[in-house]
């Protein structure tokens, strides 16, 4: 439980930094930090494999790409609030409302028995997850490979320097 409170106290400011910091590089680094915290949450929730994948894929690859893009574009820090104050206000309002509602739902969520069931043997292990992945979820798994291929081809085609007309 202590771990949770520490995580909560660190994650929320980090997440706020992501969306509020004017310098996108800081946003990205804060995002990495947030993702790390989420990975630790996964470990605490007995999802070790997912935690490592989170770090390898999200922190190790995705955010690096984002950071790359930010640096290549050499962006100036964003000046706060010019001419879209109504949208900002609406955004704050909607997000706050949504957050409140979700918290309220989580608090009254019916399907949360007080005593936790003991976890099955090998819960969250590579073998068990792989078993689910290659039996019950085989079709989506195969489809992800198609998705990735499409994404790779799409990204390459778009990012390629145009030659000719």
């Amino acid at each position: 439980m202590t771990l949770f409170w520490i995580l909560a106290c660190v994650t929320i400011p980090a997440a706020l930094t992501v969306i509020l910091h004017r310098n996108p590089v800081y946003s990205a680094l804060a995002l990495v930090f947030t993702l790390f915290q989420v990975a630790i949450m996964f470990v605490a929730l007995d999802a070790h494999l997912i935690a490592f994948l989170q770090i390898i894929i999200y922190a190790g690859a995705i955010v690096v790409l984002i950071l790359f893009a930010i640096m290549l574009l050499s962006l100036e820090p964003e000046e706060p609030g010019d001419g879209r104050s109504s949208l900002r206000a609406a955004g704050w309002g909607a997000a706050a409302l949504l957050g409140l509602e979700l918290v309220a739902i989580a608090a009254v969520f019916p399907d949360t028995p007080a005593a936790e069931k003991p976890l099955p043997e090998g819960y969250g292990s590579v073998a068990k997850i792989a078993e689910r992945l290659f039996t019950t979820h085989l079709l989506p798994f195969e489809l992800t490979s198609v998705l990735l291929l499409v994404a790779v081809v799409g990204a390459v085609v778009m990012a390629r320097r145009r030659t000719g007309p």
């Binding site: 590089v25 800081y26 680094l29 990495v32 070790h48 494999l49 490592f52 994948l53 770090i55 390898i56 922190a59 190790g60 690859a61 690096v64 790409l65 950071l67 790359f68 640096m71 290549l72 292990s125 590579v126």
Partner: protein
């Protein structure tokens, strides 16, 4: 007591790394001198020149660090001061914690305790290593960006692109190793290599996965950004790459990160492909040579031998990397990318496929 033992193990792993960086610093200077037919570090000397020769140990182990840590820390104008300070620590922290999962010996049974000689026994060790190594890229890219210098920035971008690219081939080569041994746990992999092939040879990973060894070693060297893959810090083009604007202790931390990475690559190669702490034909109760010849060795001594064996192999592979660094010319950037994406990646993919077929054919058993 348990906590103390764990702490001792982590500290031991940590000490190995720190000491190794010092030794490597010395080897790098004196060894390169040897390779290039120079004298090398020979100024400061202990005992006022009582010895007939100077190994340069004082230079490299005391004078250099002292100098580095006392130099003025210069932060360029317009640099992002916070990130400039943060970058070296981002670079070195994941590397330090990586070494804790590499086992340096089998279990030690002493005083009623069974101690697993491994900093932290994690059953997803290989994933952990991949995760931590993928974090190291942030030090480079943030350091390069925060310096507000073109050289540094270019070095940072080069470095991160290089590391992200080679991570893939590295991860895939590890996949075939994982397929071969059927586990992600370093200690189990090391133990599995205690078997014998044909009853004679030690069943080291490199017999099963020579191609993976090659790919992993090359990719590992590229990950540590050392020659011939030192594009991010290419002196002749980028001054010193991503740490051009670093000086003093911060710069020394970056250098240390390099050496730690060398040590990690050596440690991984040792553990995955060369039996880790295994000594050929040495078991808990002594040597069993092929042909039924048996020599008794006390259990404690066995452990000592194992740790020694690990350290010797570790050092050998560190030396091999330094040797390569001082022998081979630097690649061009397009050659680097070419090697990573068009050679190593397809090769490692093919290796995974072939390994998978073999594992299926032999029912996951190492029947050779």
């Amino acid at each position: 007591m348990e906590v103390l033992i764990s702490l001792a193990k982590v500290i031991f792993a940590f000490v190995i790394v720190l000491q190794l960086t010092l030794v490597l610093l010395w080897v790098e200077r004196k060894g390169s001198a040897l390779i290039q037919d120079r004298v090398g570090a020979n100024r400061a000397n202990l005992f006022g020149g009582l010895l007939p020769f100077n190994l340069g140990i004082v230079n490299t182990w005391m004078a250099d660090p002292l100098k580095l840590f006392h130099k003025e820390d210069i932060v360029p104008a317009d640099a992002d001061r916070f990130l400039h300070w943060l970058a070296p620590w981002i670079a070195i922290f994941p590397l330090f914690v990586t070494f804790t999962v590499i086992p340096f010996g089998d279990v030690l049974i002493a005083g009623g305790y069974t101690i697993n000689l491994q900093g932290a026994d994690l059953n997803l060790g290989i994933l952990y290593v991949l995760a931590m190594l993928s974090m190291a890229v942030y030090g480079v890219i943030v350091g390069g960006w925060a310096s507000n210098s073109r050289y540094a920035f270019l070095g940072g971008v080069r470095g991160s692109a290089q590391m992200v690219s080679y991570e893939i081939a590295m991860g895939l080569s590890l996949v075939s190793v994982v397929l071969t041994f059927g586990t992600l746990d370093f200690q189990e992999i090391a133990r599995a290599q205690g078997d014998l092939l044909f009853g004679v040879f030690p069943a080291w990973g490199f017999f099963y996965q020579p191609l993976a060894l090659l790919i992993f070693f090359i990719a590992g060297m590229a990950e540590s950004k050392r020659a011939p893959f030192d594009l991010p810090e290419a002196e002749s083009e980028l001054v010193a790459g991503f740490y051009t604007e670093y000086s003093g202790s911060k710069q020394s931390v970056f250098m240390m990160a390099d050496f730690v990475e060398v040590a990690i690559v050596a440690g991984l190669v040792t553990t995955l492909f060369f039996g880790g702490w295994q000594v050929p034909w040495l078991y808990r109760d002594g040597f069993h040579f092929p042909g039924g010849f048996h020599v008794f060795v006390p259990s404690l001594l066995v452990t000592v031998l194992q740790v020694l064996s690990f350290l010797v192999k570790l050092f050998l592979f560190c030396w091999l990397q330094i040797l390569i660094r001082w022998s081979l010319p630097r690649l061009r950037y397009d050659q680097l990318m070419d090697l990573g994406w068009k050679r190593l990646l397809p090769l490692s993919l093919a290796n995974v496929a072939i390994t998978a077929v073999f594992v299926l054919l032999f029912d996951g058993k190492t029947v050779w």
